[in-house]
């Protein structure tokens, strides 16, 4: 049971395996696109893990990467279409990054490293947990960036206007990609630091 929860902390795809960092920097300026992206990746990761695991004994090893890419890109295109039909403005905010889920190393990594050699049930959970681990980092980073960079959360103004009248300014650096990298770096630091002390 403990190993299932690994992706949320010790084996976090972004913090420990340093995968999927590009999209984590790109979509975290606001909470809403970050949550939608996190859900999209989780859905794609879980379902592709399940499908690949179900057909793992029929996949010829020589073309397994092609088969994996076919499954992943099919799911991503479907997610993209659903987003365009239901969350049109968010899908525009995410722009190319939904399509780029296809090349997200977390998903290919889980398919290669887990789904090909495990049962469908375990693979589904593994995909789900890795997607959630990725999403967790996105949401934490996005909360910092939106709150400090725009004074809002989920587009609701949280910092009262009296603060601005008293001279408070939004931190413009927060909404630029470099600050996302610094925040992710900070999370890696915290996570690595606490891990060491618990393993001593």
């Amino acid at each position: 049971m403990k190993s299932y929860l690994g992706p949320l902390n010790r084996d976090n795809p972004i913090l420990t395996q340093t995968l999927g960092v590009c999209s984590a920097l790109a979509v975290t300026a606001q909470l809403k696109p970050a949550v939608v992206m996190a859900l999209s990746v989780t859905v794609v990761c879980a379902i592709s893990n399940l499908i690949i695991s179900l057909i793992r004994n029929t996949i010829p090893p020589r073309v397994r990467i092609i088969v994996q890419l076919l499954v992943v890109s099919t799911l991503v295109i479907m997610v993209d279409q659903v987003l365009q039909a239901t969350f049109y403005d968010v899908s525009k905010m995410l722009s190319v990054f939904v399509g780029l889920i296809i090349t997200n190393c977390i998903i290919m990594g889980r398919l290669e490293g887990f789904a090909l050699s495990h049962t469908p049930g375990a693979s589904l959970v593994d995909g789900l947990m890795n997607g959630l681990g990725y999403g967790l980092v996105l949401v934490v980073v996005a909360i910092f960036r939106e709150l400090l960079g725009s004074g809002t959360l989920w587009n609701h103004q949280l910092i009262p206007s009296s603060f601005y009248e008293a001279g408070y300014l939004n931190n413009g650096l927060m909404i630029l990609p470099p600050m996302a990298l610094i925040l992710v770096g900070g999370l890696v630091w915290i996570q690595q630091g606490t891990r060491k002390s618990s393993e001593k």
Partner: protein, 200 residues
């Protein structure tokens, strides 16, 4: 490891691709009405914004758009007559051009006599976030309001998008500052607007 014949691999991939193609076609066709509806709403919202109505709620955009505008194509291009928020009549012209990475397009609202810009909106498919995609920001689009299409001698120059210091003799009445860091996207907007044909 199990070995698979070439024949098996070939049939496997063919069957898989066929299933995926069918699946994607079904999803795409099934969601098409919702996607198109979203695009219609967005277009109505954009044109209304250019005509000075501000941001109109999704639910009201199409109704309001139909109320204040009527289609009146110009030179075979999509165009509308519209009653602007300030009570005057205007003409909405559709423009399209090339950005750095993909197509850009927009709507230009002109005064009744086709000489003055009353507002613009621009949209793009895949311009760089934070640089080229700033053509969709209010700060850039509001700079177009009140610009003239003709110079002081009555020659048609359209509205040029040129960086300060490289105006090339174009007066500020006919010029908007280019976006620094987005030279090619700005150039795309410049070229797009030069194709604006207002001759009746």
């Amino acid at each position: 490891m199990k070995t698979f014949s070439n024949r098996y691999i070939f049939i496997y991939i063919t069957v898989m691709v066929t299933i995926i193609a069918l699946l994607l076609t079904l999803v795409s066709l099934g969601l098409k009405p919702m996607r198109e509806n979203n695009q219609q709403i967005e277009k109505a919202q954009q044109i209304l914004k250019a005509a000075g109505y501000g941001k109109i709620d999704k639910k009201e955009a199409i109704a309001l758009f139909n109320e204040v505008s009527e289609r009146d194509d110009l030179n075979g291009e999509e165009a509308y007559n519209i009653q602007c928020a300030d009570g005057t009549q205007g003409h909405v012209l559709y423009v399209k051009g090339k950005g750095l990475w993909g197509p850009i397009w927009g709507y230009v609202v002109l005064s009744d006599d086709f000489t003055t810009v009353k507002g613009v909106v621009f949209a793009h498919k895949s311009e760089t976030p934070g640089l080229g995609d700033r053509i969709t920001e209010d700060a850039f689009q509001q700079a177009f309001i009140g610009k003239k299409l003709y110079d002081k001698n009555g020659n048609y120059v359209s509205v040029r998008v040129l960086p300060a210091g490289r105006e090339g003799g174009i007066s500020d009445d006919n010029r908007v500052d280019a976006i620094s860091g987005a030279t090619l996207t700005s150039k795309g907007v410049d070229e797009m607007l030069q194709q604006l044909t207002v001759d009746n």
